[in-house]
Each structure stands twice: as C-alpha cells, then as structure tokens.
C-alpha cells in the first residue's frame, strides 16, 4: 500500500469541491458515539484478537481516495458507493442499480475497475480508490474525459463516469488497446442511451491523448 503522508488530513470528512453536500456524518448519523467506542478494533491488532463489529456499530477504516488519506467510521454494511457519494460528496460516482448490474458506480481500486456498489466500504480499508474526480488535474479534464467530449461518447451523461473509469482502468493496464479490447473493457457498463460505438471510439482516442497526441 502506497502511503501519501503529505496528503494526510486529520479530519474525517472531506468537503467536496463545488458539491452541495455539506454535512458531517459523525454528528448527524446518531451512531457516532457507538462508532467511536469501537474504533480501532480492526486496525493494528494482532491476528489472535479477532474482534467482531456488531450490527449498528462502526469500524474505523482508512480510505485513500484520489490520493488523499481519510480516516473514518463506517458501518460494515455501508457500500463504498454510499460512503463516496453521501459522505464525501463525490457524486461523480453514480448510483443506478446497486446490484453490480450496470457499472455506473465503477471506480478504480488499486487501479482496477470495480463496482463501488458491490464493495463494502469496510473492505476498501487501506486501498487506493480513484473516482471520476480523481482524473481531473485541477479544473482540467484528464485525457479519457477529454476523449469522451471529443467523440460525444454520452447522451444523458449518467453512466458516463462509470464508462470513463472503465476506460481509465483499461488504459492503465493496456495503453494501446484495440477496438475489441475497448468494447470488452466497457462491457460491464450499461449505457441506456446506447452510444456504445462512440464510447469505444473515445477509448481509442483517449489512448492517443495519453500518449500525447
């Protein structure tokens, strides 16, 4: 696990840039006290001290999101998707099926595309998570985002973050994919507006842009 200590922050909740969520879950969820009481159960304990987080209790986890480290308390049942959207205000990650059947919530976990809806936040403990927002360079679009703009690879835009993350994951693994590889890499992302051909072309364009073309 790569640590990025220079980004470490003590506070638990990141204030989203430009978003509308403005809320500290620790103070409003009503489970904060319980959460604090069981904090540290999971981290840094020797193997023999297996401790059980009971229903309604929270566990302390460390999530590395877009290069920043966050310590926070989560209920074991919370999905990573819920935590990203409703606690961090990272609403680039979309909610659409919550059953691993559409890909709108695709994020990279240790550079690999996965569904945030089917990942418990507690299981993402210690992992590197990249969301759509993490592809931005300040206010500038990343190459995959730019390619989606150029190729008009979306309509309503709701599945688009997931499509972009799937392509980003592909290119991190294979910087020069062919058309069929691009189609396969995005075959876990439903686009109900149906612009798949444009998405595949955007993936190839993104590969070019990443190579500086």
């Amino acid at each position: 696990m790569k640590k990025r200590d220079h980004h470490d922050r003590k506070d638990h909740v990141k204030t989203p840039p430009g978003g509308i969520t403005r809320r500290n879950f620790l103070t409003t969820l009503g489970v904060g006290a319980v959460g604090v009481a069981v904090a540290d159960k999971l981290v840094g304990k020797p193997a023999e001290a297996v401790e059980v987080i009971e229903p309604g209790e929270s566990a302390r986890v460390t999530l590395h999101i877009n290069g920043r480290k966050h310590n926070l308390l989560v209920e074991p049942r919370w999905s990573l998707l819920f935590v990203l959207r409703e606690h961090f205000g990272l609403t680039g990650t979309k909610v659409s099926c919550e059953r691993g059947e559409c890909g709108a919530c695709t994020v990279l976990i240790d550079n690999v595309p996965r569904y945030a809806c089917m990942t418990l936040a507690v299981e993402a403990d210690g992992r590197e998570i990249t969301t759509l927002e993490g592809l931005m360079k300040g206010e500038e679009l990343g190459p995959v985002q730019q390619a989606f703009v150029e190729k008009d690879a979306f309509q309503c835009g709701y599945c688009t973050p997931g499509q972009i993350m799937a392509v980003e994951g592909l290119l991190r693994k294979n910087p020069s994919p062919g058309l069929d590889e691009a189609r396969r890499a995005t075959s876990g992302n439903i686009c109900r507006c149906g612009v798949y051909p444009n998405i595949a072309k955007a993936a190839l364009r993104a590969a070019e842009l990443r190579r500086g073309k």
Binding site: G100, R114, M118
Partner: protein
C-alpha cells in the same frame, strides 16, 4: 440496502474457519454474489467473515508434481489472464473470461465462483420457493426458459458457474479447510443435486472454506475449449454451454471430457457424448451422433425445449472446431 450484520476480519485461516462455523455466518470473499443475495433477502446471514485479512489464498502456482494450484481468493480476471492456465488449460481461461462482466471478474474469486448461488429468478426474486424453505418450485410450472433439462426436481435451477464445468472437465479438485481439518473434493462431486438436498448448493460443511483449486496437468496434446451461448453478450449466464477437453492421436479421439453448463443444477458431465467420440475419428457422422447423445435422457420443461437444439448445435459446432 443491506440489513445489519456483524462483521469480522480474521487474520488467519484458522480464525476464519472458527468464525465461519458460527450460526448465521457467511464467508465474504469478492462479495459479488454474497452481497447480491443479501440485498435480495435470500440469505439470512447475521455475520460476515471477511477473507480480506487472510494471506496466501491468492495466486496461481505450479507444484513440483505439475498440478496448478489456484488460491481461492484469486480473481476471475487473474485466472482468465494467467499465462500458465492459458497455455495448459485454455478451456478454463476461456470460461473465466466469459464470466459476468469485467468489473465482476476483477472482484469475484474462483472460490466464490464455485460457491455461488443459483440464478433462478424465482429463487433470487420475491418468491418463497422450495430452495428457500417454501412449499413449491415456481419454475416447474412457471417461467422456465432458463432452467434445467437434466437432473431437475424438485427444484429446476441450473448451476450458474462457467468455470466449474471447465474444472470438472480437467478433473480438478477443491481444497477446503474446515472445523474438521483440510480435505480435497473433486469439483465433479462438489455440487449438490436438489434431489439430494434442495437447500444445499455444495457439500461444504458449516465453517468449511474453499482455500484452493487444484488443477492436474493436462496432457501436452490435449485440446480444450469452453463455449457459452447467452441471450446477451455480457453479464449473462449460459443458456447453454460446454467445456470440452480432448486428446487425439492420429485424428482419433483417445480421451474426452465433456461437461455441459446451463443444463443441470450441477455442472453436467455428459458421459454419453464422451463415449460417442472416444476411439473415433471426428467425422460428420460421429459428430452428429455425439450431438444427439448430449441430450439423451433430457427432460425439458415447458419453455426450455430449445435447449435440446442448442446443446446439439453447440456440440456439433465445437467438435467440428476441434476435429
């Protein structure tokens, strides 16, 4: 939204086994199936035992005796892309690359793929069916186009795994660890027919955890493939499929292993098809006979009679490729 459960993340396999043996516990590996089942309210689990703290269950290695061991937490993507698997057991590689969707392959594990719950829409849906302790199988007289033609009754699910038929075809085994210690179970004997126990998917005992899959070496001259037909080209489970492993000498089939997916509540080995080609040259006549043998004894339901044509078609098409 998931109901509450307790959560534990043991750091050792023995602790995981202990935790998993407790009442209401479920083993959480990739979670792609387990969490879906919990969302749908069909697994009343009260505790999840996370395997993410247990080391050494992930990865593929060749033992000195030539057996490939695949740690149970190895992802489906890792199985699909592994060079060793691709070279020696292409059918498994092909099967793994046809599973679900890329993201689910990145997350789901080989152990989980073998232990997954059936995909019957009544079982997964809001129906209190036999498999969930209810009184009836809704598929028997209901909407059953995706159900079984072999081995059915009193429940008519098909086994959803793509990798399991390939593993059966290669004679693979499952290594488990449980309260009574470790054991090895051939994949062919790993799954349970509903006529034996309608509530059980596998022979795993409470607390028993799959730790590895062991894949014996395939003969150098072996040819293998996995073919999957589905209603849609991503996510979908097999309408019908086949894992075929053949060895041939001088164009004569010297050994054959043919396992059907989408056919039965368990990966369905078709000995009749194997027999129809063993010792023979794969000419049109033999292939036609083999295709007919593949569906001998099938008991289609009202809406899945097409599977008779489909399995014959698959066997014909794929044997021609291998001939």
């Amino acid at each position: 939204m998931l109901p509450s459960f307790s959560y534990v993340r043991p750091g050792t396999l023995s602790d995981a086994v202990k935790q998993a043996a407790s009442e209401g516990a479920g083993v959480l590996a990739g979670g792609t199936d387990l969490l879906g089942c919990m969302r749908d309210g069909i697994l009343p689990l009260t505790k999840l035992v996370s395997m993410s703290g247990v080391k050494d269950l992930r990865g593929i290695a060749k033992r000195s005796d030539g057996v490939l061991t695949i740690g149970s937490l190895t992802t489906i993507t890792e199985v699909a892309e592994d060079k060793l698997v691709r070279e020696s057991h292409p059918a498994l590689s092909m099967a793994a690359s046809e599973v679900a969707s890329p993201q689910l392959r990145n997350q789901g594990t080989i152990g989980g793929n073998l232990c997954q719950k059936p995909r019957c829409w009544y079982y997964r849906g809001d129906f209190h069916c036999l498999r969930k302790g209810g009184e009836r199988c809704f598929a028997a007289a209901g909407q059953n186009p995706y159900h079984c033609i072999f081995g059915g009754g009193p429940c008519f699910i098909v086994h959803p795994s793509d990798t399991a038929p390939a593993l059966v075809a290669f004679g693979a085994s499952v290594r488990t660890s449980g309260p009574k210690g470790e054991r090895t179970i051939p994949v062919e004997k790993f799954h349970v027919l509903p006529s034996v126990d309608v509530r059980k998917d596998t022979v795993l005992e409470p607390g028993e955890i799959v730790i590895a899959v062991e894949l014996p070496p395939a003969p150098k001259e072996a040819k293998s493939l996995y073919r999957k037909v589905r209603a849609r080209n991503s996510w979908d489970f097999a309408l019908a499929g086949a894992a075929i492993v053949l060895t041939m000498s001088d164009h004569i089939v010297t050994s054959a292993s043919i396992v059907l997916s989408g056919a039965a509540p368990v990966p369905w080995r078709s000995k009749a098809t194997e027999d129809a080609i063993t010792g023979k040259r794969l000419d049109d006549k033999v292939i036609a006979k083999a295709a007919d043998e593949a569906i001998r004894g099938a008991m289609p339901l009202a809406q899945n009679g097409y599977k008779l044509h489909l399995f014959r078609g698959i066997i014909r098409e794929e044997l021609k490729k291998l001939a």
